[in-house]
Every structure is written in structure tokens, then in C-alpha cells.
């Protein structure tokens, strides 16, 4: 019987609640409230009338509740288009990353060829390269390729990042080689080993990586701002800044756009928290 269980049982008994436990609960829930405050402000303001949103005083519960800001956004702004662009970019990027990263990770860990160590070394070394070093030459390259204001300009550079390769290579390496050898004896081609064995066995890491890439790609800010030069092509993260500048004195509209920009990710997060957090944990472990 572990010590931890006994303490837990004790702390559930009414008379035995220690002062320290009360303090810990108070601090943690206080912190949680502070963390939630910006969301509460965002949601509550988005549901206010234009006048209510700038009225003096702070009423957390809108009175009256108004969908005016949402209706206005849907009718008079490009926000639906932006949402569609963002979704398209994030899902294409994620799919591309999963395919090309898993292929090269397979080649680097499950095949045996000279030079693979150098390739892996080069990819890992590129972790040191911060994304911003490349923006100027990348911008020139993209413009030379005629890809300015093309979604590929956002998708391709993002998919070139090394994180996925690294995480997948770490994972693939742990899969027992006996399985692969048995399959080879049965005459499986490497392509078949990759698609029928390695990928299905890696479902957990692939879904964690997919989720992480999707969220990251959805949230990109600076690079899309540089290369998407036509308002209709904007993504939500840039779009809400445009809206903020256009509706400076209408916080209800700004907050409604923030809710729309983050809503889909929140739903995804609520459904798949474990995978998302495990993708983050893996980065810490590797």
C-alpha cells in the first residue's frame, strides 16, 4: 500500500483537510481563474451590443445578449473566406508533412544505406535555424517562383521543417526489427512494409504530430502576412488584425472575430487534448 494512497484518503476526510491542501487548492484555482479571464472577456464582449461593449464598468454577463457582432462579421467581412483559407492551408500542410516526413523517417531508420547518418545529422542540425533567418531569401525565392499570393508559398516552407522527421525517426527506431525481417522473408517490398506495417503501428505518434502541425500551421502569423498579399487570401490570424484596425472602437466585433479564429482549435483541443499534450511532451523527451 503506497504512502500516496493513504495521504489521498486522509485528505478526503472532512476533519483532516490540512491547511496546506486548502492553500494549494486556493492558489491553483485562483491561477486557473486568472488564466480563464481573457477567454471570459473575449466571449462575453463578443456577445455585447456595440454600446454595451464600450460602456463603462465591467459586466461579465452581457445584458442584453446580442449576436450583432457575429452577424455583422458574417455578412460584411471576408471572415468566412479567411476561415476556409486557413483550414485549407492547415490541412494540406499537415497531410504533406505526414507523408513526406514519414517516408524519409522510414528511409532513415528502417532501411540501411550509406549516407543516411549524414542526412539525419543535417536535418537535426537545421533545428538550430530559427524560422526568421530565412524570411528574406525565402521571400525572394517565392517571388521568383511566382508563388506570391499562392497558398503553396505558406505550405511548402512550413512543410520543410525538421520537427516531424525527427519525432517520427525516434519513434520508428523503437519498432522491433524482427517484424520487418519476418515480413522481408515473406517477400514484402519495402513500400509494403512502410504502408502496411510501420504506418499502422505508428498511428499514435502520427495523430499527435498531425494535430500539432495542424494547430501550428493554423496559427502561423508573420509568414502568411508577408506572402499573402491579397486580402481575400488572408488567413484568420492575419484577418483579425485587419478587422481590429477597421473596427477600432467596436471591441465586440474584434472579440467576435477572435472567437471565430480560435473556436475550431478549441473544439479540436477539447476532443483531442491528450494527443496534443503528448506531442508537446515528446518534444521535451527527444
Amino acid at each position: 500500500m503506497s504512502n500516496a494512497t493513504t495521504t489521498r484518503l486522509e485528505s478526503l476526510l472532512p476533519g483532516e483537510v490540512s491547511a496546506r491542501s486548502v492553500l494549494v487548492h486556493a492558489v491553483m484555482y485562483g491561477a486557473a481563474l486568472l488564466f480563464l479571464m481573457p477567454y471570459m472577456y473575449m466571449i462575453s464582449t463578443s456577445l455585447k451590443t456595440p454600446e454595451g461593449a464600450i460602456a463603462a464598468g465591467m459586466n461579465w454577463i452581457p445584458d442584453p445578449v446580442s449576436l450583432h457582432a457575429y452577424a455583422g462579421l458574417l455578412a460584411d467581412s471576408l471572415i468566412i473566406g479567411w476561415a476556409f483559407n486557413t483550414l485549407l492551408i492547415a490541412s494540406t500542410t499537415t497531410l504533406l508533412v505526414l507523408i513526406v516526413d514519414s517516408m524519409i523517417a522510414f528511409a532513415l531508420t528502417r532501411l540501411d544505406w550509406p549516407g543516411q547518418r549524414y542526412v539525419l545529422g543535417l536535418i537535426i542540425a537545421s533545428f538550430m535555424v530559427p524560422g526568421f533567418v530565412n524570411i528574406i531569401p525565402l521571400y525572394i525565392l517565392i517571388s521568383d517562383l511566382g508563388l506570391l499570393s499562392n497558398y503553396l508559398a505558406v505550405i511548402l516552407p512550413f512543410a520543410a521543417g525538421p520537427l516531424g522527421v525527427f519525432l517520427l525517426a525516434q519513434f520508428f527506431r523503437e519498432i522491433p526489427y524482427e517484424i520487418q525481417e519476418a515480413a522481408q522473408l515473406d517477400g514484402f517490398s519495402n513500400w509494403r512494409i512502410y504502408t502496411r506495417m510501420i504506418l499502422p503501428l505508428s498511428r499514435s505518434i502520427l495523430s499527435a504530430l498531425a494535430l500539432f502541425m495542424f494547430v501550428w500551421s493554423w496559427n502561423q502569423f508573420l509568414w502568411p502576412l508577408i506572402v499573402l498579399q491579397d486580402q481575400a487570401m488572408y488567413t484568420l490570424p492575419i484577418g483579425i488584425v485587419v478587422l481590429r484596425d477597421n473596427f477600432t472602437y467596436q471591441p465586440s466585433v474584434t472579440m467576435a472575430s477572435a472567437v471565430i479564429a480560435s473556436g475550431p482549435l478549441f473544439i479540436l483541443f477539447l476532443l483531442l487534448q491528450e494527443q496534443l499534450m503528448s506531442a508537446v511532451e515528446m518534444q521535451g523527451v527527444t
Binding site: G57, I104, D112, S126, F132, A160, L222, L265, G284
Partner: protein, 307 residues
């Protein structure tokens, strides 16, 4: 060919030579799609940036660019705006990195205790991390607003003259830092929580038998055991902090004055407002050099190898 070789080789009928050639071809084929992306969109721009930094780059007629050697670098050394941006970036890092690590560690240790609703708390502390920088920045700009902001509304109840957060030389950067801590701490929190949960419980029981109090256990068990995670979190937050852009861009546009203009903002301005691409590439290279030095220093200070 012996049976063992056949087993190892897998293919059986093929000789070892042709087998390894086949693996080489397949290895390259499997790697190619990523390597093309990597080469074109990561490696090439990286090298190109170094090349560009040696030129007075002509944005409209690249062939008329003028080679000036280290001219951009020497110009940078004497450029007060660069030093201002570097100083602001350092200040921002100093404000955010220790705060994120301390807050992240505090939250992780708190959630790790016997506390009710642990899963919910974990989700709450992590959740801002999934927001895009512009949502975080726009929401906080409103919270800081002097006209309808929540913060000054409550401060106004207890003090007569609450600060003008984002318009103030003194408070603008700390305000951005607070937003950043809220936005990014979730990442570090999750990593530190995972690290804390993998500290073997018997170490604490042994320490307890030795009569160690909470503080001793924290200092002699928790921190040393979590050393790697803590250093990872420090390094990654430093790297992020040096690249800060979105928060000041949205919240203050680098102002008031130039007091929140960061390195990346200055780079952006040099490139896209002044069309000085060679100089901007130079700033990018210097930023990278700083980050590489920081990472190496950290590696030796903390050591991947002193296990």
C-alpha cells in the same frame, strides 16, 4: 550465401552488393520528397541569406547588387536602431523566460499534487498555447485598454491613476511580457509536469525518511531530477523570445517610440519598408548567430553529457 546472411539480407536471392544498392536507391527515393522541400525551402535560403548579407542588395534588379563584403555587418555595429532592437529583445527575454519557467514549474508542481480537478486545471493552463499570436495579442490589447479595459477598470477601483499600459514607455514591454507568459507558459508547463511525474516516488520517500522538509525535497530531489526538462524549457523559451514579433506588432507596433521594436520587427522593416534586403538578411544572420551561441552555451553549462 549462408542461411544467416539470407536471413539478415531478407531478400534471399539477391547478392549483398545488389541488395545494398537496392537499399540505397530505395533510401533515396523514400527520402527524396522531403529532401527536395528541405533543400529548396530551408537549406537554400539559409545559404542564400549568407550570400545576400555580403551585398548591397538591389531588390528590383538583383543582378545589379553591389558586393560590399562585410559592409552590412560593420554598418550594423554602428546602427543605433539595431542596438535598440537588440536591447529590447534582450529585455523581453529577461522578462519572459524566467517568468515562464518559474510559473510553469509552479503550476506543474501544483497540478502534480493531490488536487481535485487536476485534468481540468491541466487543460486550462495549457489552453492559451493553442491560440494564434494575434488572438492572444488582440484580446490582451483590449484587456489593457485605458477606455474599456478590464484591468484598469479594477485597478481604478483601488487607485486613482492606473497606468496607460501599452502607451507607456515603462509598462509597454512588461505588458507584452505578461501576455506572452499567459500565451506560452502552457507548453513549458506540460513538459515540466511530464518530467515531474517521471521522478521516481521512492526518492521522495527516502528523503522523507531522512527528515527532509518540502523545501529540501524541492531543492535536492525535484530540481536535480528535472534538470534536463528545465534546461530544455529555458532554451526553447529563449529561442522563442529572441524571435518575438507578433505580440509587439499587434499590441504596440513597436512603440511608444521604438521602445518595443524587436529584432525581427526591425528586420521586417529593413526588408519590406526600406527594401534593404541585404541588410535585413544580415540582421537575420546575426540573430541566428546569437541563437546558436546561446544554444551552445546552454549545452555546455547544463550539459547533455554530465549525466
Amino acid at each position: 550465401m549462408s542461411a544467416i546472411d539470407r536471413f539478415k539480407g531478407g531478400e534471399g536471392v539477391l547478392s549483398n552488393v545488389s541488395r545494398s544498392r537496392k537499399e540505397l536507391v530505395e533510401g533515396i527515393l523514400f527520402s527524396l520528397p522531403y529532401l527536395v522541400l528541405f533543400g529548396v525551402f530551408l537549406l537554400y535560403p539559409l545559404l542564400m541569406g549568407g550570400y545576400m548579407s555580403l551585398f548591397e542588395w538591389n531588390a528590383f534588379f538583383p543582378s545589379r547588387s553591389e558586393f560590399i563584403g562585410i559592409g552590412n555587418y560593420t554598418h550594423l555595429l554602428g546602427d543605433p536602431q539595431f542596438w535598440n532592437a537588440l536591447g529590447n529583445t534582450l529585455y523581453f527575454s529577461l522578462l519572459t523566460v524566467p517568468s515562464i519557467v518559474i510559473v510553469g514549474l509552479g503550476l506543474a508542481l501544483g497540478v502534480n499534487r493531490d488536487i481535485r480537478g487536476r485534468g481540468v486545471l491541466r487543460a486550462i493552463f495549457f489552453s492559451p498555447y493553442i491560440l494564434t499570436v494575434s488572438v492572444a495579442a488582440v484580446v490582451w490589447t483590449n484587456l489593457y485598454s485605458t477606455q474599456y479595459g478590464v484591468i484598469n477598470y479594477y485597478l481604478g477601483l483601488v487607485m486613482s491613476n492606473p497606468p496607460q499600459w501599452l502607451q507607456s514607455y515603462v509598462f509597454a514591454m512588461p505588458s507584452i511580457a505578461i501576455t506572452t507568459v499567459w500565451w506560452l507558459v502552457g507548453f513549458s508547463f506540460v513538459i515540466l509536469l511530464a518530467a515531474r511525474q517521471s521522478v521516481p516516488e521512492y526518492l521522495y520517500e527516502a528523503a522523507k525518511l531522512d527528515g527532509a522538509g518540502t523545501w529540501r525535497m524541492f531543492r535536492d530531489v525535484t530540481v536535480p531530477q528535472m534538470r534536463h526538462a528545465i534546461f530544455f524549457v529555458v532554451v526553447i523559451n529563449l529561442i522563442w523570445a529572441f524571435q518575438v514579433y507578433g505580440q509587439p506588432y499587434v499590441m504596440t507596433s513597436g512603440g511608444p517610440g521604438q521602445s518595443t521594436t524587436t529584432l525581427v520587427m526591425y528586420l521586417y522593416e529593413a526588408a519590406f519598408n526600406q527594401q534593404n534586403f541585404g541588410y535585413a538578411a544580415t540582421i537575420g544572420y546575426v540573430l541566428t548567430a546569437i541563437l546558436v551561441v546561446v544554444s551552445i552555451l546552454n549545452y555546455y553549462l547544463i550539459g547533455g553529457d554530465n549525466e
